[in-house]
Each structure stands twice: as C-alpha cells, then as structure tokens.
C-alpha cells in the first residue's frame, strides 16, 4: 500500500472500510432487516467515495435515489412480511459446495484485482461527459475537455451528457421503466371478469 499522505486518502480509507464491513454484514446478518440497513450504510460509504472524487452530484443522487427511495421500499416490504432468522448452517452441510464457492470467489476477486492493476478501464484523454476545469462555466458540445470533473459544473455536466450525448439510451430506459410500471399494474390488478364469471356459475 503506497497511499499518498493526503486527507483524501484517509477519507477514502475510512469510507472504503465502512463500505467493505457493511457489505460483508449484508451477507452474514441473520435478520433480513439488519441486512437491508447494512446495505443502506454501504450506499452511504459509496456516496462518500464519489464525494472524494469530486462527483458531488453523483454522491447526492446516490443518497437520494438508492438510500432514500429504493431501500426505503425494500426495508418497508421486509418489515411488513413475516420473517424468520436465516441461518448459515444449511449451506455448511454440503462441504463440496462450500469448497466450490470459495474457489469461485477467490478466482473472481483475483481476476478483479489483476484487471484493476494491469488494465486501463478508460484513458482520460478519451473520456466523455466531463468538462475541463478551465472552461467550467461553459459547456461545449461535442465534449473536448479532458481531465477532471469540475465541482462547479457537476449538474450541468451530467445533464448535458444525459440529454445530448446519451439521449437515446436515456429515453429507452424511460420506456423500459414505463413498460415495467404497466406490467406491475396489470399483474397486481384483480381479474374482475373472472370473478363475475364465477358468480354466474355459482
């Protein structure tokens, strides 16, 4: 570990520690509600890491959407359902399965680690959707900026990337969500016709 001796590095250590501990806790808690609350803490730590990177808008949206909206519904449903404490013992009865899963997990994390160390996820010169610091007030399209996400232009940057460059995927996602909502309504709707038919038979 050769971390630079800056406040950001220590904050990153702090948040990543919380993130890992709470993520492990999501899996190993016996009570589903405890797991869900641990997941909320994971989202918080992730928001903190986004904040360190300067993406304050993404950090806010992480808290607002994931912790504030989605997990509220998940916890809400978990609390209403009758639940019992799960136990790990039923997975431990099959030793072969445990060994296989451990090998898989080890291999996965090894692959992840080696990919992070050797590969280049994207090179900064080709990155899209960010504006350079010197022209932070003006957004230009197509984007020609390079290095960092400017703190001033976070919202404008995300908005421009969403509505100019990636407008088609964005609209397709909204269409997908509409389909999901309609599907949920149809599934949840009571079948009035069938009940009437039953009444006539009886």
């Amino acid at each position: 570990m050769n971390l630079p001796n800056t406040p950001e590095a220590y904050l990153f250590l702090f948040f990543s520690l919380i993130c890992i501990v709470s993520a492990v806790s999501v899996i190993f808690q016996k009570n589903p509600v405890f797991s869900a609350v641990s997941l909320v803490f994971t989202f918080f730590a992730l928001a903190g890491i986004y904040g360190i990177m300067g993406a304050l808008f993404i950090a806010t949206m992480q808290v607002l959407v994931y912790a504030g909206a989605i997990m509220v519904l998940v916890v809400f449903v978990l609390m209403l359902l009758s639940q019992r404490a799960e136990s790990l013992s039923k997975f431990l009865t099959k030793p072969l399965k445990v060994v296989f899963m451990s090998v898989f997990a080890f291999g996965f994390f090894f692959a992840l680690q080696s990919a992070l160390n050797t590969g280049t996820p994207f090179s900064p010169s080709e990155s899209k959707g960010y504006i350079s610091k010197d022209s932070s007030k003006v957004y230009q399209y197509p984007i020609t900026g390079t290095s960092t996400i400017s703190t001033e232009g976070n919202v404008a940057t995300v908005g421009a990337a969403t509505y100019l460059e990636y407008v088609l995927p964005f609209e397709l996602i909204s269409l997908l969500l509409l389909i999901a909502v309609i599907g949920a309504v149809i599934l949840a709707k009571r079948k009035l016709v069938a009940e009437e038919a039953k009444d006539t038979i009886l």
């Binding site: 304050l56 607002l64 509220v72 809400f76 609390m79 976070n154």
Partner: protein
Amino acid sequence: MEWGYLIAWAIKILSLFFVILTGVAYYTLAERKFAGFIQDRPGPNRAGPFGIFQPLADGIKFIAKEEIFPKNVSKAMYLLAPTISMTCAILAWAVIPFGGTLPAPGWLTTMTGISTIDLQVANPDAGVLYMLAVSSLSVYGIMIAGWASNNKYSLLGGVRSTAQMISYELPMGLSIVVIVIMTGSLKLTTISESQKDMWNILSPPGFVAFFIYVTAMFAETNRLPFDLAEAESELVVGFHTEYGAFKFAMFFLAEYMNMITMACLTTILFFGGYNVPFGIGNGTDYETLIGLGFFIIKVLFFAFLFIWVRWTLPRFRYDQLMRLGWKKMIPWGLFAVMFASVYTVYWKETWVRLFL
C-alpha cells in the same frame, strides 16, 4: 493556513449547532405557550418568569430519567432509530444560507488567517438536492423505530408514516422543481440571490407551487393535520410508544428541528431568503446583518405557522390523506412544472419588469 481553516470551520459549525439546539428548545416552549393561548389557558409558567426556563427543566428531566429497554425490542435497531432521526435533522442544516458574507472580527483573523465569514457551512453545487436527500433519509428513523419496538402500535405508526412520507416527497420535489426551473440553478445561494427583485411567491407558477410545497411540508414533518404517525387517539403515540427518557428526547428534538429546517427552506425557495424588501439598508455596513434579521423574521413566521395550524385544524383520515397526495397534489405539481417552463420561456421578462 490549512489549520486556520479547520479551526474557523469548527468554530462556525459548533456555534451553529449551539444556536440550533437553543432555538429548538425555545421552539418547544413557544409551541406550548401558543397552544395555551389558543386553548385559553396559561401554558407553562412555573419555571422562571413566563416559564422561560422550562426547556432547561425539560432537558434535565430527560437526561435524569432511567433508560429503559423493553423486553422484546431488538436492541441495536432500537438504539439506532433515534440516532438516525437526530443525525438527519442536524445534517440538513449544513447547506442552509442564513445570510451573505460578514467581515471577520479582528481576533479571528489573527488566529486563523481568514478575513470573511459566509453565513453558511457548506455551499454545494446541488444544495436543493442535498436537502431533498437528507429529508428522504429521515424516514428511516421512524420506520426502524416502529419495527424495532416490536409493538403493534409502533409498527402501525411507522408503516403509516413511511407511506405518507414517500407519497408526499413527490409533490414536494415537483414544487421545488418549479423553483429550479425558474432560477436555472440548484444552488441555494443562487436561488436566494435570484429573488432580489421579486420573490418567487409573487410569480404565478411560484404561487401555485407554494401551496403544494406548504401542504407537503406539513406531511413531511408529520405534523397536524397529517400527524397520522402519532395520532394519539388511535395509536397511543405511534412510532415512539416504546421510547422514553433521552431516546424520546432525540425524536422530539429531531421533529422540531425538521420543522425549523422546513421553515428555512420555505423562506429560501419562495420568500427571498436573506433579501430585504424595498432595499432597506442597501449599501450600508450592516447590510448582511439586516438580511440575517429579515431571514430570521421570515423563518419565525413559518415556524409559527406550524404551531398555528397544529392547534387549529383537525386530523385527516388516512384514505383522505392518500387521496389528497396522489390524486390532487401530484397532478397539480405536474401542472405547476409545465406552467413554470412556459412562464420562464415566454412571460418571465415581462412579469419581472412589473416589480422593478
């Protein structure tokens, strides 16, 4: 230099914290005094002249009481719930701009090397979104309290309150979007400064959005006429039935703190923030302090509105609450957003000229 900034920030944060806690304590006294006035009785008047030491006495009482853990609660969650409520209530104060910039007193400049004080702790790019995010988190406190107490009244209170807060976050968000469209920024200081000539309440879409916002505000803070989470006549006191002593005090303080936060946000979004009407004290040395004074007066009015409404209106029924939220407020909110877009593009310049 770095350390100077840190010390200055610590001083600012601690002094704000002190002011808030004192303010909240006296807000509870004000609530009881006005309740007494409205119900034609004196209210608390034993501790000190006019009962002004009542909050102190209450605080000592809360701390000195025995901490009781009911038998069937899940202890970690039971303790986590009031902590979350209180933390979220305090977090929201980080971004509220109370005024402009003050020159720092001499001793502070020599000690820390800073020359001006912004009357705001942090000024993020998306301050409005931060407020929304923090207020949407406060639902966890209530929900976990209701579940961890292992009590039917508590659970019902928690479930009701969660559903209510999720429903009313949408109209509240929509009414804030109206202001964001008219201003073109998510920054709270920019929103304040854009209202120098005309408060947002005086523009037609802002006028519509204001009523949506105020209704949603009452629902978000779980106050009458929407206090179904507590509903004394049905649920004992709802989600904090099993809480006593200091744990209850934390819920209590968080509720009143949220109310003051909402009053501040109303002032910033619709009533010009720290702008002073008719240019009183413009260009003088005391401009910032006058602005701060006007901000506090406006906030106190909305804080009073909470008390006034609570002791005047009866409680809504639960189905009425949901019908109002989903069938009235959200369509009106969507209408206000469209109205604001049209207004901003076509009519805004003409309308603003009326006020210059």
